[in-house]
């Protein structure tokens, strides 16, 4: 793979293809990545806080967008036709990555600021969820759901010690938040009511992800265990162990049959970050790749490619095929 760094010198705006994998050379380190909904373009967030939109047919960056005057930060919001900037007065604006046009704008929540790791939006960008410390109880947290007009739809107690992760269901009807106190709370967004609390997980949830059809929620705990929850009954349907020291992010393929995880495999002599792709049905590890550091991940809409931004000066486009199954994971029945 190191040979591919030559690309940065001589072929700066081309896609190289090796063994079905491809590399997008970047002029800066890649922090996060997201395919557009039609799969024709890829938005890449760099360490320079700029979002570069690649046209995958021509292998050229067609647009560079980023924080404007008064903006303090920039984050990607999947799918990749949206990104968000946050102004110094803490207003979050969701923009179209093609036109740069502001699609929706959110005033800051009650505590006066957004927690960068926590802001999540519905797929249509109409609602935003944020968390903050409960002003009346410093060790407790609350979650707030705000619409694009800035109206608070609801706010609710969200456990002790802060929120680890949040996500909306694909249809935007459900909000799930994992608290550092290990409980996972599920709200009906329309009614603004708590409809379930998962108490069975004993360690912090490092990440959670809905399957694209909304039928399952995958959660990753601090001991590298993946839990698959049926989102109708909220019963545990499956539990298995992935690589040691697994951490966020995790993600489903578009057809919901593959799960991708990231973690750092440590030996006495080295620590090796790896992305691993798992076939959920067979319990087999399909492929594993070494990364330079923490990653941003995005599947192409057809599920054949996984884009990985790992802090290096390129984005890896990895071919995903179930034919490459090499290892079965340790499945534990619930």
């Amino acid at each position: 793979m190191h040979r591919l760094h030559i690309a940065a010198l001589g072929f700066a705006a081309s896609i190289l293809s090796v063994f079905g994998d491809q590399v997008l050379p970047m002029v800066t380190n890649s922090a996060d990545v997201s395919f557009s909904t039609d799969g024709k373009s890829l938005a890449v967030l760099g360490w320079d806080r700029q979002v570069r939109v690649w046209d995958l047919a021509t292998a050229h960056v067609t647009r560079t967008l980023g924080p404007e005057a008064g903006d303090a930060n920039c984050i990607l919001l999947p799918p990749g036709n949206r990104f968000a900037t946050v102004s110094t007065n803490q207003t979050l604006r969701i923009r179209d990555t093609v036109s740069g046009r502001i699609m929706s704008s959110f005033a800051p929540p009650a505590d006066g600021g957004f927690d960068w790791d926590q802001v999540v939006t519905t797929a249509d960008g109409a609602l935003l969820a944020a968390s903050c410390t409960d002003p009346a109880s410093p060790s407790s947290s609350i979650v707030q759901v705000i619409d694009h007009a800035g109206k608070l739809r609801f706010q609710a107690p969200a456990g002790l010690g802060g929120l680890a992760q949040m996500t909306f269901s694909p249809d935007g009807e459900t909000l799930v938040a994992a608290s550092w106190d290990t409980d996972i709370r599920v709200w009906d967004v329309r009614a603004g009511t708590l409809k379930h609390v998962i108490e069975a997980v004993k360690l912090e949830t490092f990440d959670l992800a809905y399957s694209p059809d909304g039928k399952f929620l995958a959660t990753l705990d601090a001991d590298s265990k993946i839990y698959l929850w049926d989102t109708r009954s909220w019963k545990l349907t499956r539990k298995f162990t992935v690589q040691p020291n697994a951490n966020r992010p995790i993600g489903f393929s578009p057809d919901g049959t593959i799960l991708v995880t990231w973690g750092v495999i440590r030996t006495k002599s080295k620590a090796e970050p790896q992305v691993i792709v798992w076939d959920i049905a067979s319990g087999r590890q399909i492929r594993a790749w070494t990364t330079e550091g923490r990653v941003g991940l995005s599947f192409s809409p057809d599920g054949r490619q996984l884009a990985v931004a790992d802090g290096s000066k390129n984005v890896k486009m990895l071919a995903v095929s179930k034919k490459g199954s090499v290892k079965r994971f340790n499945t534990v029945n619930p």
Partner: protein
Amino acid sequence: MIDKTLRRRTFLEKCIVRGLLVGAAAFSQTRLLAAWEEAQARAMKPTTPDDLGPFYKKGAPNKANLRVAREPGLPLRISGKILDTRGEPVHDARVELWHADQKGIYDLQGYRYRTKLALDSATDYQVETIMPGHYAARPVQHVHYLITAPGCKPLITQLYFATDPFFESDAHKDFKKYLLKFHHESIRPVTLLDEGTLPRSAVTFDLILEKA
């Protein structure tokens, strides 16, 4: 939270408005004021909240002795009272306490160095454990706490040790350059005990809860 704006004059005015000075015939203004001043003197600042951290594990057993036979580590006794901000003892508290082992590793599979004390009628706690180790991501020795009690706000906090080599003998130096989060208010001195042949250490850490 202590109402720092409540001064003598304000206090008397409030009492008069509420009829307390008229109705409480047995109390003179002087005695009432003395009682108020005594309460103010006992008023305590709530323990500074801190992060829960990523290694909390639900379901810890209720046990006061966390030491494990033949495990290395300086024996440490942690004790303290559970009080409210008026200095009154708090009953029926649940005190969860967890920390890393001597190598700086948290037990995620089991419950080594983790406890959830159900204090019931007691208003103080004592745990026999070992001095926690350092770990690369956060090289400050610390013990995590999660305390709940009826009628009080939950408290998440951490205990730090003045003897920690990280502090280089001066816990009040500016350590911001290390980008480490810790609270000076929660650093406690460590006492070496002369009990038996092995060295032992002890720390007192009172936990002050706010009324809900």
